[in-house]
């Protein structure tokens, strides 16, 4: 009996060995290593002279470029998250009706979500260039993605359009789990559609709102691909597309200051960690309740 259990344990360790090695080597160890690097002067050739200290954090926290990156990402997040949620919920409400061509519409709305960020951004650069389709329709000549005051909002529009389909799927799953007798009761009371939505559906979707909020909120804080593509990796014009992740990238691969890049990474992680923790705790409580 002991032999059998030993054998099973042996196979168990064998099966998980490679995955655990990958996670240990490329997740857990780098986590500690990043913290370590963040306390040293560290360049492309490795650790430099001078002891440990919090100087990298001091530099990040006092760097006006990092402040701009934080301001940009705050604006972006506050714009893109509510817009994605509103669009996603509206699309889900439409798809949830008994309509002809339901699957077609669902696929059409969802499709931009699966296309690559670089390709979608490239298409947006084309449609929103000074002489592009969009300007032709509205009769303007604004280069939306090359213009400091408009570029972040252009990315907000682009990304809420792209990710609305994903939000729609989450909301759709939530809508379909609402028991129908709730609506039957409302119908008996002769409650109007608008009132039914705001008084019944919307509050019942609370867990979904929270889930979508956190998922897209965390995603928004990590904005990189679109900012990189529209600005040729430079964060311009006039720092208007600088985001925290672009800051990390540029500190690492144009300034080659790995210490500062690691410190900025740790700060971004701390922010995301708090949000994730909030989600796990709240969702756990909702499920228990």
């Amino acid at each position: 009996m002991l032999g059998v259990r030993l054998r099973e344990a042996g196979w168990g360790y064998g099966f998980v060995a490679v995955p655990i090695a990958v996670f240990g080597l490329f997740f857990v160890y780098p986590f500690g290593y990043a913290l370590y690097i963040s306390f040293f002067h560290w360049g492309i050739l490795g650790k430099q002279a001078g002891g440990a200290g919090t100087f990298n954090y001091d530099k990040v926290v006092h760097d006006p470029v990092f402040h701009t990156a934080l301001k940009n990402i705050a604006e972006y997040t506050l714009g893109v998250v509510p817009l994605t949620m509103a669009l996603g919920l509206s699309l889900a409400l439409v798809i949830n009706q008994k309509i002809r061509g339901r699957n077609f519409f669902r696929s059409a709305f969802y499709f931009p979500s699966i296309a690559s960020s670089v390709a979608i951004t490239t298409i947006a650069l084309y449609l929103f260039n000074a002489n592009g389709l969009f300007n032709h329709i509205i009769g303007s000549k604004t280069p939306w993605f090359q213009n400091a005051p408009t570029v972040m909002w252009a990315i907000v529009g682009l990304n809420s359009w792209t990710s609305a389909g994903t939000a729609m799927l989450y909301y759709l799953a939530a809508l379909q789990s609402i028991p129908t007798d709730v609506y039957e009761a409302a119908a008996v009371d002769n409650t109007g559609a608008w009132r039914t939505f705001w008084r019944i559906t919307f509050p019942l979707l609370r867990p979904a709102h929270f889930f979508v909020l956190v998922i897209f909120g965390i995603g928004a804080l990590k904005l990189f691909d679109q900012a990189f593509v529209v600005s040729n990796g430079l964060g311009g014009p006039n720092y208007s597309t600088y985001t925290p992740v672009l800051y990390i990238y540029r500190e690492a691969f144009t300034t080659f200051d790995f210490g500062v890049a690691a410190a900025a990474g740790v700060l971004l992680f701390a922010l995301i960690f708090v949000l994730t923790l909030a989600q796990r705790l709240t969702v756990g409580r909702e499920e228990a309740a």
């Binding site: 196979w11 389709l133 971004l268």
Partner: protein
Amino acid sequence: MTLQTVAAADPFIPRRARSEVARKAFFYAVIVLVAAIFFVPFIYTLTTSFKTLPDAANVTFIPHPWTSSAWHTIWTQYDFKTYIKNSVFLALVVTVCNIFLGGLGGYAFARLKFPGRELLFLLVLGTLMIPDQLRLIPVFVMLTNWHLIGNFSGYILINLVTATNLFFMRQYFLTIPKDFEEAAKLDGAGYFKTFWRVMLPLALPAISALVILQFQGTWNDFFWPLILFGQGNPAHYTIQLGLAELDFQYTVLWPQICAGSILAILPILAIFLAFQRYFISGVVSAGVKG
């Protein structure tokens, strides 16, 4: 239009029903319009890719004249042939590794008993909390020291298996009744044979979802290829890197840029159209459970 034809066909529709028809027609008009906002950009991009450069300045949906020269240029002169080959290679290898290792690990965590199992599983879930932006510097330093920057092995190594995939496979294995394994055991099958010949084939629905999501994830990945291949030889560029490079170098060469974007989307579109069901259920279950 729908409204008029319906009304003309039957002039005796009572007022109330008529307003119902009007409401319906309005509703469909709105969602068709909204759907158009979702696919017109792609159609417009596709038609531009068949235009000449001067014609691309015209806001028209029909190329005049039609030409495939933009496609020809990106495929041969700008080497998109190589980028596509690289992306297909990486996406296939990473997906296969994830099926095998995610399946193997997922099976062990679901079914085999060994001391420390729960602790190790907690470690797996813990990795979900560590964002790429934090791993970036250490992983880059490690791969540099091992001379794995600028070649495919480094990328494959760090993407051999993800916690999401392992977790996803484990959850699926938990739903499979134990009878199948008991039967295999009675036939004298060992642990690996049971996994390979019995459990993995039973997990086909989960594998399909994993294949679609992982292939798409690797195909669309921009961050890690940029870090690992971006500073080196364009021979290692993936399609996304190649497209970004095309944007930067030839900012207004719209027919070529449009052809490149379509090419970067096309394989995923094909998979999406073929396996919509798996796509959509996979996204929801991965999101809700993960």
